[in-house]
Amino acid sequence: MAAGKLTSKQRVAWTFLTIGVLLYALFPVASIFVTSFKTQADLGSNQFWPTTWTWDNYEMIFVGGAQELFLTALRNSIGITLIATAVAVVLSTLCAYAIARLNFPGKRIILGTALAVSIFPVISVVTPLFNLWRTIGLYDTWLGLIIPYLSLTLPISIWTLSAFFRQIPWELEQAALVDGATQWQAFRKAIVPLAAPGVFTTAIIAFFIAWNDFVYGISLTSTEAARPVPAALAFFTGASQFEEPTGAISAAAIVVTIPVVVLVLLFQRQIVSGLTQGAVKG
């Protein structure tokens, strides 16, 4: 929009387009949301809105019959994701620091490999990984998920962070040294405050990726020992053999979506700039 202003015709067109995209993106979420408040009877009737709103489904997953399944899965999800995120952030910070600061042979190869790993289709890795994990005993363990999650989160973290670090004026570190700082003080007082937003953004992005994974979660676990929420949803059962667990699944889906939505709403600006930096500058 070179002129910066839209004609009224353009504005109408944009409005419709935006509404269309919003509907398309949000309708499934809204549908799951209302479903999570439906009673068992409403689930069968092909109506969008529940006739009576009920917390039954939430009760079921938190204190009711599905409690065991859901809460352990939630614990697995949170634990595995946080550990995978933390490890990814630490490793990618070190890696990106080296890439941004030092000149060493093989720098391009590292970035290239990271990119290659990130575009490698997950589904083709899963079967060999399944066999390997079973042989070496990582199958159905936290570690057995954390490692593949790192392969998802590390490449993008390395890319975003090295783009971010490249923009930091490293002369500041030297300025601080001359100003009387120790090496550690220079890093902490001059560099960390500038690097922190980038590291933080990367952490959020890495968290999403691990949190949302389904393929590894379902393929590399078999019990509650390590099964994360997205995978556990498939194992919900109804109150009786003839009842579909749709309500409970919806409620669980909403519960795991909440942290993502909250994070996005709180940090949308950082996330967008982090992503575009990675995209443009990488």
Binding site: P169, E171, L172, Q174, A175, A176, L177, V178, D179, G180, A181, T182, Q183, Q185, K189, A190, P193, L194
Partner: protein, 416 residues
Amino acid sequence: MASISIRNLVKEYGDGYPAVNDVSLEIEDGEFVILVGPSGSGKSTVLRMIAGLEDITSGELLIDGERVNEKPPRERNVAMVFQNYALYPHLSVYENIAFPMRLHKGQFSKEEVDQKVRKAAETLELTEHLDRKPANLSGGQRQRVAMGRAIVREAAAFLFDEPLSNLDAKLRGQMRTEISQLQRRLNTTSVYVTHDQTEAMTLGDRVAVLKKGELQQVASPRELYEQPLNLFVAGFIGAPSMNFLPGSVEGTTLKTPIGEIELNEKQAEAGRDKEVVLAGIRPEFFDEASQVDASQRAKGQVFTAELSHTEWLGNEQYAYVNYENDPRVTDVLQSLAEDMDADELRTQLVVAVDAMSTIRGGDTAELWVNTRRIHLFDPATGENLTRDAEAGARLTEMAREDRQREAERAGAKLSS
């Protein structure tokens, strides 16, 4: 306050190329020394070695008589102003200036920090900007914040790496004066790296000229200008730079492409046994013959030349004269031009004439040249054959006395 002794300093980067090669320089307490040289000559490297940001490959560095080669920057107590200011973007101007003091916890009380920051801010006219972030300041203000950070510490020495090169010409002139006055007032030993001729000539008590990591000459600006040690210094100092005319000396006559020039016996003798010499003649040694009165005329020589074009700059005017170069010196002049970062070898004589003069390109003009100030250089070694070392030393001694007098005056002003 401290003296700085640089002894046979060598810096080799990873690839083994000596960025600084055997540089020795004694800087007195309170002295303002300028490092100049073309791009890549190792100026910044010398400065960074003094600051402790670059390891010293060999040689010795003493600050206030104490060897500091192995000391980290913070133990050297020097302050540095970087080319792009290196202000901390997340801190306010106040905190930027207070930063060095904050690093030494307990050494300064809160009131002391506040008082020092405000005093520095006042000196640099930053008081109303103390709460702002560096990103919101103009170039000149940022420059001042960087200066503020340097002066609050009462450092032993100030190091400047092209501090004004990011400013526009007008502001540069103003900041140059401010830096000069500040240094005189504080009387703090300073080393200043620059590309800029004017900064080099006006700021420094002494100027050190570097070429490819090697020190060429250290002297007061006047000595460098009047008694350069070699071809490179002669060409590098002064703008527009010195003309180098090829010629040969026969008797007391210098035969050049623009005509014969009569030299005095001393000059002639210095160049007589060389097959070919380069006569260094600064543009302002010339004038229009009609402008020179009779008594002055006797000190030089008149010749005629066809002007190719003229340049009028308001306060001065330059006329250009084409000449045929001597093939024996083209190589020397070509490599000199490269050393000086100049575009290419010039076979044009630059002549400074009065700004009021109405001579034009295409005219045949009668020009006069002051022959007494001509230097002869040996094209093979670059050596200045006619340099008067004593006269040069006198000029540098004069600059030294000037500095001491000024320091005393500043001291007297402070105590009164």
